[in-house]
Amino acid sequence: MKYKILKIIFIFFLLTQKTFALVSVDITRGNLDPLPIAISNFYLDTTITENIKKLSIENKIPELIQNNLTRSGLFFALEKKSFIQKPDIAHNRPRFEDWAFIKSQVLVTGKISLEKEGRLKVEFKLWDIVSATELSALAFYTSPDNWRRVSHLISDKIYERLTGEKGYFDSRIIYVAETGPKVDRKKRLAVMDQDGYGVKYLTLGNELVLTPRFSPTSQFVTYMSYYKNLPRVYLLNIETGIQDLVGDFPGMTFAPRFSPDGKKIIMSFAQDGNSDIYTMDIKTRIVEKLTDHPSIDTSPSYSPDGLQIAFNSDRSGFQQIYIMKSDGSNVKRISFGEGLYGTPVWSPRGDLIAFTKLYKNKFYIGVMRSDGSGERLLTENYYQEAPSWAPNGRVLIFYRETPSDVTGKGGGAKLWSIDLTGYNERLILTETDASDPSWSGLLSVK
């Protein structure tokens, strides 16, 4: 229902802009009917030097945009071979009949020029072929080696204009890179662009690291490390590499996440066989205990308005999902289906909670409303867990493990993404095995 409303708002928005678009993507239906889109190569104007020509970014930028849009499952990119018009002429003003002829409904064109002090100007235009109008035009200024970032920003603009929702391409994913045999797994923190490019390893693998999570507001990451064999929660600035022990309690601290304003870390603290949920203010280091129950209370996750917390508890005898107010009051169980429920993660939109479910020896990634109603299972497998939301709340990333044989071989962990609709399940390629993914917010709003 909510999406219907959004779509109405979207159309209204277009009307007021006087450029009524006949095309729009219905994001409630997943990839059943992707929108045919033509993404022309960009063209280099006469200011471009030989050195920059060698980068062939006039082809690489549209290619990256195309990869982003098709991976979303909402778009179908037409073969470049079928394009009749040249990039420069099309960018100036396309002959709409030519593009309609190849069944394109939207067209992306672009131009790259060199500005003062070696800065690139990358401009793109989005054309509605059906109504023969220009939908949007924007220019980005950047250094030539930053062309990937610009491609992601353009992808977000196109996605936004055509779906009426924020994009998620200009974002990163932090995860745990895994190597080595199962009984002696080496785990390192790694960060990459959301499309899997540009991986950087942040720890060396000397100690076990688990469950990294991005701050929604900065380049900080919180994670758990077994440094000096003391399992504790740490804070890491991924720009400077500076680490800071934050969960220095007399026992194990684990399952950390940030509050939506990035000012607090919420985590579990286990002592004497009991795990409870605590918050710590990063600046003042003031600690607050939120749950006080002899059961296991873990995997806390704030609602985006910061007023509520979803968490995992076995106080009923088995693992279930609960919510409470952010001061720890009003604890309420919300999962009542058959099986066990874990890893609740609140959507950045606030309406849904993603979770892992174990039922009859299978693992599911699913979503439910924050009152526990409307449970929907998106994917079933041998083992999968730890969903994390894309910044626009449309896509979930998680990890999946395959079983190993009697010698312990054959098993492994990989990152996967799936659309909220349950369609468009995709493997995200990583150099090594990978687990515990966490999606950043949009980089551009930092």
Partner: protein, 158 residues
Amino acid sequence: MLLNKLNKIILALTVTLFLGACATQQKATTTPTDDAYTGTETVKYLADGVPDRVFFATNKSDLTSAASATLAKQAAYLKANPNLNVVLEGHADERGTREYNLALGERRATAAKNYLISNGIAANRIKVISYGKEKPANPASNALAWSQNRRAVTVKTN
């Protein structure tokens, strides 16, 4: 303990009632409660006749009678060697979410620690660490391996 027993009774009742009521529909079975490992594979020894580990049923942290017997031997051994300190490493099998398993490993290791304390070992001689599902003893993905991995291992620290 009482809660666990109650749960078992409720579960048994539910299953019985359900089977009685409707034979075609399958009720979701919770994980079995009697699947603690009883063999000696993967077991090491702190000393002759003193096994280093105890095993747990799925999702459980209460000690089985076999686990109590093993811990009683460990307690006697630690009493006889008063300068020896230990760390209890708690583990879970791979069929559970990572964070819950970390908590479960801690609960299991603490259950073993408490048994040693109640058998006269000073609390300051025993440390606890949970590895969750991170360090399986048997890397296979089958019921036997999982039962061997649901464990608390007593490791000498000096």
